[in-house]
């Protein structure tokens, strides 16, 4: 469990993280989504004791990070996959961490297998690793101590689509086993695949949070029928706002409402779905733009 309470970080007059509060329960994979510079990394560094908070606090498993006994056994952290000594081999990076965490060499080989780094790759120096391989190594390091909580900053960055789906499976299994996952991303489509729930942050503030479906539904309902003009009139008559797009209608209402009206009036529907990635993308851009304007006006 990760609990963040009124967490704030100011650098001089600049507020990087502005009074954010949320709680991630065991069994969840939560995406921390926001554009570059939104304060995701700063917030994650505060959660892991690397950056002192200006005010507020963050606890993991009920304790502040610095109070945790052998933190590597309880929290798997990857804050920057590129932050590895280039002169060490991948395996050596994990062996050094294993000494500190207090796990054996066998566990190192286990996590290497788990993240799909071959024996040969593990023996290469990190200097020669691709970003995707560094991400896998960073995840291996985070999993080393068999933690209950994962805090991962941009873990899908540099992974190919296959790799992103692999990560989804890995994190979902981790959460299904009672684990808690918080991962950040600045790419909506990426976090949509990996995470089930989202906390959106813009300019240091939380702008929205909830399940992916819930947030998607807020993007409206997309509908397409054999007679869009008639459907538009029917929906407007029912008091449901409608707007036309290139390939159909976007309705500010639940899919169920649209479906019921269409069935009653015998309109043939070709497509009916909640939101869609375009909807969430628009909301993401809209929300972050809104906070930008607020920020500029302030």
């Amino acid at each position: 469990m990760i609990t963040v309470e009124n967490l704030t970080k100011r650098y001089g007059g600049f507020t990087a993280v502005d009074d954010i509060s949320f709680q991630v329960r065991p069994g969840s994979v939560v995406g921390f989504l926001g554009p570059n510079g939104a304060g995701k990394s700063t917030a994650m560094r505060m959660m892991t004791g690397l950056t002192p908070a200006t005010s507020g606090r963050a606890t993991i498993l009920g304790r502040t990070y610095r109070e945790l006994h052998n933190p590597g056994r309880q929290v798997g952290v990857m804050l920057d996959a590129s932050a590895q000594h280039p002169g060490r081999t991948g395996r050596e990076v994990l062996r050094v961490a294993a000494v500190s965490v207090g796990v054996g060499k066998a566990r190192v080989e286990e996590v290497l297998t788990l993240v799909g780094l071959t024996d040969k790759e593990a023996g290469r120096r990190v200097r020669n690793y691709s970003l995707g391989m560094r991400q896998r190594l960073g995840i291996a390091a985070a999993l080393l101590g068999e933690p209950q909580v994962l805090v991962l900053d941009e873990p899908a960055n540099g992974l190919d689509p296959q790799g992103i789906h692999w990560m989804r499976g890995l994190l979902r299994r981790f959460a299904d086993g009672g684990g808690t996952v918080l991962l950040s991303s600045h790419l909506l489509h990426e976090v949509q695949i990996v995470a089930d729930d989202l906390v959106m942050i813009g300019r240091g503030r939380i702008v929205a949070m909830g399940s992916k479906e819930e947030l998607l539904a807020r993007g409206g309902t997309t509908v397409q029928s054999t007679d869009d003009a008639r459907l538009t009139r029917l929906l407007e008559a029912a008091g449901v706002p409608v707007s036309r797009t290139g390939s159909g209608l976007v309705v500010d209402g639940e899919a169920r409402v649209v479906g019921e009206i269409a069935a009653r009036e015998s309109v043939v529907l070709l497509e009916l779905r909640s939101g869609g990635s375009e909807g969430l993308e628009e909301m993401f851009l809209g929300l972050t733009a809104a906070t930008s304007r607020e920020g500029d006006a302030a």
Binding site: F22, V29, T51, P86, G102, G178, D196, L198, M209
Partner: protein
């Protein structure tokens, strides 16, 4: 905004996010004292000094230079000086020069290579990491010196005078001097947290200070008390007298303890990025 509100705890205003049910058995923290046992931190830090390409090469270069110097001296040097003591003095010269660099690299890598993002997450009590680095550097210096002693002994047997003229005072003095130098490296590394700046400072600043004390007569007396290279000369020679110890203490305080203190403060308070 969120589907659930926090019901488990009354003092927590944080809204919950995620599908984990509120009544799910909550995970609890492991019992125990904060952080990691010191022995493990120490072993990890010692390992990190020699497991990188740069660290390994420093050791190889030190060994190679020492061997070359010894071989060269045995072959071409004045035969009567090639006693155990004379050979060890030669072999430790490159060590005094290169050991501080190993200390520097141990201290700066966490910041220049950004491995601190992992190190300080695994042991959030950074003071203990600094302590482990200092001790690891001292242990490494002692091991390297032991190797130099062995090499000098071999050289003495093979091509030296065969005279075993090393006194306990000199042996102890050489060990202490090398420990001071490697700790100075760690201190400068912590102070600057930047490898090239720290290396240049360790090599150049004492020299600049030496030249200043020689050139400016009013600084001459101060130089005698605050010049690490001067005060370690009797230490290497094993001829420490009362005043020499006092001078070693003052120079050590300025060139080792002061940067070590300021550097440790920096590491404890700096934001790890």
């Amino acid at each position: 905004m969120s589907t659930h509100t926090s019901t488990g705890t009354t003092h927590s205003p944080a809204p919950a996010v995620g599908r984990g049910a509120a009544d799910a058995p909550t995970a609890t923290a492991l019992p125990g004292r904060p952080g990691v046992p010191f022995g493990r931190t120490f072993r990890a830090e010692l390992r990190k000094m020699v497991d990188t390409r740069a660290g390994r090469w420093m050791i190889i270069v030190m060994a190679a230079v020492a061997v070359l110097v010894l071989a060269g001296f045995v072959i071409w040097g004045p035969a009567e000086d090639a006693s155990f003591r004379g050979l060890l003095e030669l072999a430790t010269l490159p060590l005094a020069m290169l050991l501080p660099i190993i200390g520097i690299m141990a201290a700066t890598a966490e910041w220049s290579q950004r491995t601190g993002l992992v190190t300080f997450v695994l042991e959030p009590r950074r003071g203990r990491v600094v302590l482990a680095k200092g001790l690891a550097a001292l242990v490494l210096a002692a091991v390297v010196l032991a190797a130099a002693v062995a090499a000098s002994a071999v050289a003495n047997l093979v091509g030296g005078t065969g005279e075993w003229d090393l006194t306990a005072a000199m042996g102890g003095g050489v060990l202490l001097a090398l420990l001071v130098y490697v700790l100075q490296g760690v201190a400068f590394g912590l102070l600057f947290l930047n490898t090239p700046v720290a290396i240049v400072s360790v090599l150049v600043l004492p020299t600049v200070w030496s030249i200043a004390t020689m050139a400016v007569s009013s600084l001459e007396e101060a130089g005698r008390w605050l010049n690490l290279d001067l005060v370690t000369q009797p230490l290497f020679a094993g001829e420490m007298a009362g005043r020499d110890w006092a001078q070693l203490a003052t120079a050590g305080a300025v060139w080792v303890l002061l940067p070590l203190t300021v550097g440790t403060y920096r590491v404890l308070h700096r934001e790890v990025k």
